[in-house]
Symmetry: C2
DNA sequence: TCCATCTGTAACCAAAGCAGTTGCAGTGCA
DNA sequence: TGCACTGCAACTGCTTTGGTTACAGATGGA
C-alpha cells in the first residue's frame, strides 16, 4: 500500500488552492485533514522542496501555493512525498546464480514492474490539483453544502477555541 | 512499496514451468529463490488457493503447476499473493466534514486512485508466466549459460549435501 | 507397520515504515 | 520584547514483512 501521504498532500494543496488568497497555517490545515500539525508540516516540507508551496515562518505566516494549481499534477505530488523510484520490491536476497531462473528473473521482472509503475503514474499525471479542487466543489454543491465556507469557518474556529480552553 | 511476495511468487511459478515434468519441493525452490522453505510454502499456499498449483505432501511430494503457464498472468499472481484491493491509502482518520475540501476529498480521490491502480494491473495482465519463463531462458542463452541446467543441479545438490553435514 | 520425507501452520523474532505526539530552537512581525 | 509561526529531532505504538524454529499431519516405500 502506498502511504496516505499522497492523499494528505493532495488534500493540503486542494485546500490551499481553495483559499488561495491567504497563507494557511499548519494548524488550520491540520484541522481540515484531521491530524496533527506536525504531520502537515512534514508533508509541507516535501512540497516546499518540490517548489509547489512557499512557507513563511513567524506571525501571520503559513503556506501558500507557489504555482498555478492547474500546473501541479498528482504525479508531481506523488513523486514529491513518496520517496523511492520503485513500486514493486524484488527479492529480499539475491536469488541463486547457479539456477537459470534465479540468475535472470530479476532482470526480467525489473522492466515489467517498471512498465506497470509508469502506467500507474500516467493516470496520476493526467489529474491536476485544479481538477481535484473543481471536483470537490462540484460534490459540495450537489451535496447541498454550497458556500458552506463561512459556516465551516465559524464552526471550526469555535472548535479551536474550545480545544485551547 | 508492494511486497516482494509478488516477485517471489512469479519466480516460484517460472521455476515450476521450467521443471514442469517433476514436482518441486519447497526446499528445492527455496534454494533457487535463496530464502527459507517456509517462506516458499506460505506463498505456495496462496497460489494453491488461487488454483495455480497442486501440492502433494509426503515422500516424493511437492508442488506442480495446475494450469498452463501461458494462462497465468502476473495479475493473477499479484491478486493471489497481495491481499487488499486498494493500492493507495486514503486519510488515516476521516477529514473534517465541516470543510468543503475535507468533506469530499476522499470521494474525489477514490476513483482517481482506482483508475491508477487498474492501469498498473493492466500491464501485469499482459504478461504471463510463460512469457517470463521464455525471457528468462533467452537471457540465460545470451549470457552464455545455455543449458546450465544439469550443471546447476549438480552444484546445488552438492551445496545441499554440504548444508546437511 | 514403521519410517523417511514431504506439507501446513502456529509462534516468535528483528527490522522497517508509518502516523502521531512532545519539545524546543529559530524566525519574523508588531 | 513577546507572540505566533515553522523546522526538526526524538520518541511512542502499531502494523507489515521476511526469516526461523517447532511440530502435527499426510504419504508412500521397505
Amino acid at each position: 500500500m502506498i502511504s496516505s501521504r499522497v492523499a494528505v498532500a493532495v488534500h493540503v494543496l486542494a485546500y490551499m488552492a481553495w483559499k488561495r488568497s491567504e497563507a494557511q497555517t499548519s494548524e488550520r490545515i491540520a484541522s481540515s485533514v484531521n491530524t496533527n500539525p506536525v504531520v502537515v508540516r512534514r508533508i509541507m516540507g516535501a512540497l516546499r522542496n518540490a517548489g509547489m508551496v512557499t512557507v513563511q515562518p513567524g506571525v501571520g505566516g503559513g503556506a501558500t501555493l507557489a504555482r498555478d494549481p492547474a500546473g501541479i499534477s498528482l504525479l508531481d505530488v506523488y513523486r514529491a512525498v513518496e520517496d523511492g523510484d520503485e513500486l514493486f520490491s524484488l527479492h529480499p536476497s539475491e536469488p541463486s546464480r547457479n539456477c537459470n531462473v534465479g540468475g535472470h528473473i530479476r532482470d526480467v521482472l525489473r522492466p515489467i514492474f517498471c512498465r506497470a509503475h509508469r502506467a500507474m503514474e500516467g493516470v496520476l499525471a493526467e489529474v491536476s490539483i485544479a481538477d481535484v479542487g473543481q471536483q470537490v466543489m462540484e460534490q459540495a454543491r450537489s451535496a447541498g453544502g454550497c458556500c458552506a465556507d463561512t459556516v465551516s469557518e465559524v464552526v471550526e474556529g469555535l472548535a479551536r477555541e474550545r480545544a485551547r480552553a
